[in-house]
Symmetry: C2
Subunit: 335 residues, 2 copies
């Protein structure tokens, strides 16, 4: 892969690796050096780092939203894959008969020797049914089952071999139409929030002008607050007092809900290949921060908060679930 075309390749390669106490450009320390003045535990981050690189990383992302909001195209644009190139779309009569299914796809991405096993959980058919509420129960059931399965495995005999299918993040696609959230969005997100980190995105944002987008974001944020919908909160990412980094972080947080545009079409512009949507009146570059928040979303998901999303799933959401399950059983156990 050409690294200049791939925004997943960090332009700050050192941030992925914990800083060495012996200087930025000397991450691996010889035994000799260690013996001189340190006990050695300063190398622990590097041990973990090496172990992790060897093991590879896993991340499970769910995409939820009405059909036609460009979920698959966005995933392709985010991770620069062709994950959904073989997809066959159903026609209306199939849509009527179909119930919401859960489809899982896994793709191995590697860059600079770091491997990521990315699992995308898709919910085809969501919102197709005449009655919207029918759509979202299968999704909630799925999330619940993954937690429950993990809980059973954790209490079982083969703890080291647990296959963790818990979902770390849910990209919730909000329609760009309408003023803010739909009643279905509110009802669904209120149920989702206890099982998964919600990251809301405004889909197909290239149909909104700058002013409309700002108003829509503001309205959505206000409505989420009003309805007490808890979305994933960005903890401050390690800024290293880097001004540019801090600025990026600030911009990223201010972009929520991310207004995204996806595309599978590539165009060569100024010598580089860019994903675009070409209209008669102009060309939308999906990775141009002036046109969409795709790059902010990618930065957040991949470069700064992937680990955070996993930890919040484990420490907050799953723990809450486990405790509530314990509370459910305790009355019967006390007899």
């Amino acid at each position: 892969m050409d690294s200049t075309l791939n925004p997943l390749h960090s332009t700050r390669p050192d941030t992925a690796r914990p800083k060495s106490p012996w200087g930025r450009h000397d991450p691996y320390v010889s035994m000799e050096e260690l013996g001189k003045s340190f006990v050695g535990f300063a190398s622990l981050p590097h041990q973990i780092h090496r172990k992790n690189v060897k093991k590879g990383f896993e991340f499970t992302l769910m995409v939820v939203g009405e059909s036609g909001l460009g979920k698959s195209t966005l995933i392709n644009s985010l991770f620069l894959t062709g994950l959904y190139s073989d997809r066959i779309l159903p026609n209306t009569s199939e849509m009527i008969e179909r119930t919401v299914g859960i489809s899982k796809k896994t793709v191995d991405i590697e860059e600079k020797g770091v491997r990521l096993k990315l699992t995308i959980v898709d919910t085809p058919g969501f919102g197709d049914a005449l009655d919207g509420t029918e759509s979202y129960y299968p999704v909630l059931d799925y999330l619940h089952e993954q937690f429950e399965q993990y809980r059973m495995d954790e209490m079982g005999k083969h703890r080291t071999q647990i296959k963790d299918n818990r979902v770390h993040c849910c990209l919730y696609f909000i329609s760009p139409y309408g003023r803010g959230l739909k009643p279905l969005d509110v009802a669904f997100m209120k149920d989702l929030q206890t099982h998964v980190n919600i990251v809301p995105v405004i889909a197909k944002a290239d149909c909104l002008t700058k002013a409309e987008l700002l108003r829509k974001k503001e309205t959505i944020r206000r409505e989420m607050e009003f309805h007490k919908i808890k979305i994933f909160e960005f903890s401050d990412c390690d800024s290293d007092n880097d001004v540019e980094w801090t600025r990026q972080d600030f911009e990223m947080k201010n972009s929520v809900p991310f207004a995204v545009v996806g595309s599978n079409m590539q165009l060569r512009m100024d010598g580089r290949k860019v994903r675009v949507r070409a209209y008669p009146w102009g060309v939308v570059e999906v990775e141009n921060p002036d046109h969409s928040d795709l790059v902010h979303l990618r930065t957040m998901l991949v470069r700064t908060h992937m680990q955070d999303l996993k930890e919040k799933t484990q420490d907050n959401l799953y723990e809450q679930f486990r405790i509530s399950r314990m509370n459910m059983r305790s009355p019967s156990m006390s007899f």
Copy 2:
């Protein structure tokens, strides 16, 4: 109003008036001339024409579609009015509680001495409910009631004073997302078609590229055929063997479902004011046929087929309704 800015002002002013058998530029014929060689019935179209101009025209248009598809903005753009400038949008909690209402607005438009009383029947709240089917029954009920009321009035004493509230045309807004029609669209249109002339439009079409739009139109046409949805069929408009007129007519028919873009924002371009949507990547001109089918839709609705829509309502849809009502009563009458 500045006539150069107003596309409602026909650039072919003579087409609105039946051609005089005495030459295009002499529509009014003196009694003297009439006495010379004609009995006089050739002036009948002109008598009707003058009567109609005096009475003014009435037209009732219904707009149906999910909230947020830009129905009000489109009406403003179509008829160059500010009909919905005072609208207050509900928030999500209001939307949940609200049922579909029917709102009627009437506006008098005049150009070149011809008056049009335009009534817009809006269906705010359509599709907001969690269960979609709840949304469309009030709309069907409304259409049914107007037919029934007219039927009762027609059989009553004061036939000359009937207030005709029947809807002549229904602009059905299809979401630009998704592949074609949603199951709700199919179910709704199948019920609508017996009560009103359906003219389908693809709303907010500025989020679709040319290729996507062609594909979407093709899919929708195929699905409508498959589901036996009968939309308003354009009879050939009186072309006067005018090549330009015939080409326009052909283009208009090929545009169905009309891909429309509306806007309340005006920009001065090349010395004239145009309605636009300004994106960072370009400016959509809603009346540019290369950008949207708005002009085709307006031509059809106002300049070529308004009378046709009214006649089809009276002669086909209402007659069908009347006969079915008669059939319903006949068994009890035979006893």
